[in-house]
């Protein structure tokens, strides 16, 4: 089964299963693969699937269609081919098409890469003006996600208990709650554990992991035994401290 992964920068945006017949790529909404970016022409390219395999054809687009950084007009697709349209890339995966059809080089017949071998996909280089994906909102107003994105940082506000600050901004990757000297959020008292919980900041958000054997980490009143995501206005209770989590713009 042949597939395309639509990527923007490092991220995979969509997975497309390719069928026999014609699959169109372009900025117009009528395209099968619709990419809303000004670097992409209205009707940019098309992929033709036949019994012999898949072929990509550029439809005289303004910025061109590239395969592995070479501009092409029409070319058969081989396994792992990286197609570039504007700032977006489409990675073509079809284990059956693993043998390249390169006339200039001696081709060594190899079995298709087995699933256990690691494959690397790298994005090609681009000019910076193509960097923007335009998001069309209601009322056909254009907003750029670059302007819309504001960095948000987690904050724990002390609601109850004795702490050395009124609130803690969670800017570091790892934040420890406990009695330990190195803990960012210090617990006081003889009975406080050295480590009560650890907060991990990731691209997906904040996660709190309780220390083993500490029965006393509560999130929204419920005991937590494994890593748990922190959401807006969650209440965290560790030792004698009661804290509220929020995401703030900085």
């Amino acid at each position: 089964m042949a597939k395309l992964y639509l990527k923007f920068k490092e991220s995979v945006i969509r997975e497309i299963i390719l069928q026999n017949g014609i699959t169109t790529i372009g900025r117009n909404e009528t395209n099968d693969i619709h990419i809303d970016n000004l670097a992409v022409s209205g009707s940019h390219a098309r992929i033709i699937g036949e019994s012999g395999g898949f072929t990509i054809e550029d439809l005289s687009s303004t910025n061109g269609t590239y395969i592995n950084d070479r501009r092409i007009a029409r070319q058969p697709l081989v396994h792992n081919a990286v197609i570039t349209v504007g700032k977006h890339t489409l990675v073509f995966l079809d284990p059956v098409a693993a043998v390249p059809s390169d006339n200039d080089q001696t081709v060594v017949m190899r079995k298709p890469a087995s699933n256990d071998a690691t494959v690397v996909i790298t994005p090609p280089r681009h000019s910076p003006e193509m960097d923007q994906t335009i998001v069309r909102g209601a009322g056909s107003q254009t907003i750029s996600p670059v302007q819309a994105a504001v960095e948000r940082v987690g904050k724990l506000t002390v609601l109850d208990g004795s702490a050395d600050a009124a609130d803690y901004l969670l800017e570091k990757k790892i934040i420890t709650i406990g009695k330990s000297d190195t803990a960012e959020i210090r617990l006081k008292g003889f009975f406080a554990p050295k480590v009560a919980a650890v907060i991990n900041r990731t691209r997906e958000g904040y996660f709190i992991t309780p220390a083993a054997g500490e029965r006393k980490l509560l999130v929204n009143g419920r005991p937590v035994t494994a890593a748990c995501p922190l959401k807006q206005l969650d209440i965290v209770e560790a030792g004698s401290l009661k804290l509220q989590f929020s995401l703030v713009e900085v």
Binding site: E10, T118, V120, I121, I174, N200, R203, P210, A211
Partner: protein, 268 residues
């Protein structure tokens, strides 16, 4: 910081060679794991080359004041920036060596590296080799894989359960040597007593759950023993890939007996 460390690597139960490499160099404060990519032993060469270049670079620049390749990111410590610079250099060396030698075309490697300076541990990674912090008995991931599956999970396109079952976990989106310049992810961390840091290749994490890794890592005071046990566990579960584990353990201070008694008193 008083630490003990160890590393162990095995080709696993299926692969014929071992394309993983590791370095444990406490005198430099350097610990790293690299997992090579590319046929005809090129992966093995790439992972070894990455660690040799990195170790050599850090050995030469430990005085500070050197020019950083790729600039200085003010969000991270000098230690982290120095580590990133060494990794970028390694990527260039691999890239250029591959250009000169047809047998090495398309070779590359992942890397996860930790550089210890006093109490600060800086971690850098490219690809799907990982670092974990084991603190307070819990296991916390310090790295986010540069793999297609991990990206799809981050974007909410794939559930973590579906990711576990996916056959495309082998596709990575970043590696050293595939492009002239490698994009390196960094993280700075202040170590605490009794912390354990694990660096490992995907041959471990694809075979052993995080919870199991955590309990093995806490099961002994001897880092040699822990690394071997982690590798054995991966092999027992099938050992489909090369397996490598590097462990750094922070020793507790001189008050450990007293603090352990207090801990015992508190819990009972």
């Amino acid at each position: 910081m008083n630490t003990v460390s160890s590393g162990y690597s095995d080709r696993g139960m299926v692969r014929e060679g071992n394309e993983d490499s590791f370095v444990v160099a406490p005198e430099l404060g350097l610990f790293a794991v690299a997992d090579g990519v590319g046929g005809h032993r090129a992966g093995e060469i790439a992972s070894k080359m990455a660690l040799d270049v990195l170790q050599d670079y850090l050995g030469r620049t430990s005085g500070g004041g050197e020019v950083l390749l790729g600039g200085n990111d003010p969000n991270y410590s000098d230690t982290a920036n120095r580590l990133a610079s060494g990794i970028r250099l390694a990527s260039r060396v691999i890239y250029e060596s591959a250009q000169d030698n047809p047998a090495w075309r398309n070779m590359g490697t992942t890397i996860v590296a930790a550089l210890l300076e006093e109490e600060r541990l800086s971690i850098a990674h490219v690809g799907d080799s990982r670092a974990y912090l084991i603190r307070g008995g819990g296991i916390i991931p310090l790295t986010e894989d540069h793999s297609m599956i991990a990206e799809q999970v981050r974007m909410g396109l794939l559930s973590p359960e579906a990711a576990q079952a996916s056959t495309q976990r082998n596709i990575i989106t970043r590696a050293l040597g595939f492009e002239v310049d490698a994009e390196v992810d960094l993280c700075d961390l202040l170590l605490a007593q009794e912390d354990r840091i694990l660096l490992c290749s995907d041959g471990l994490t694809n075979m052993v759950s995080d919870q199991m890794i955590c309990s093995i890592a806490l099961g002994s005071q001897n880092p040699d023993e822990i690394c071997q046990q982690l590798v054995e566990e991966a092999n027992m579960n099938g050992g489909k890939d090369n397996v490598t584990a590097v462990l750094i353990m922070v020793r507790s201070g001189s008050l450990s007996l007293l603090s352990r008694m207090l801990d015992w008193a508190r819990r009972s």
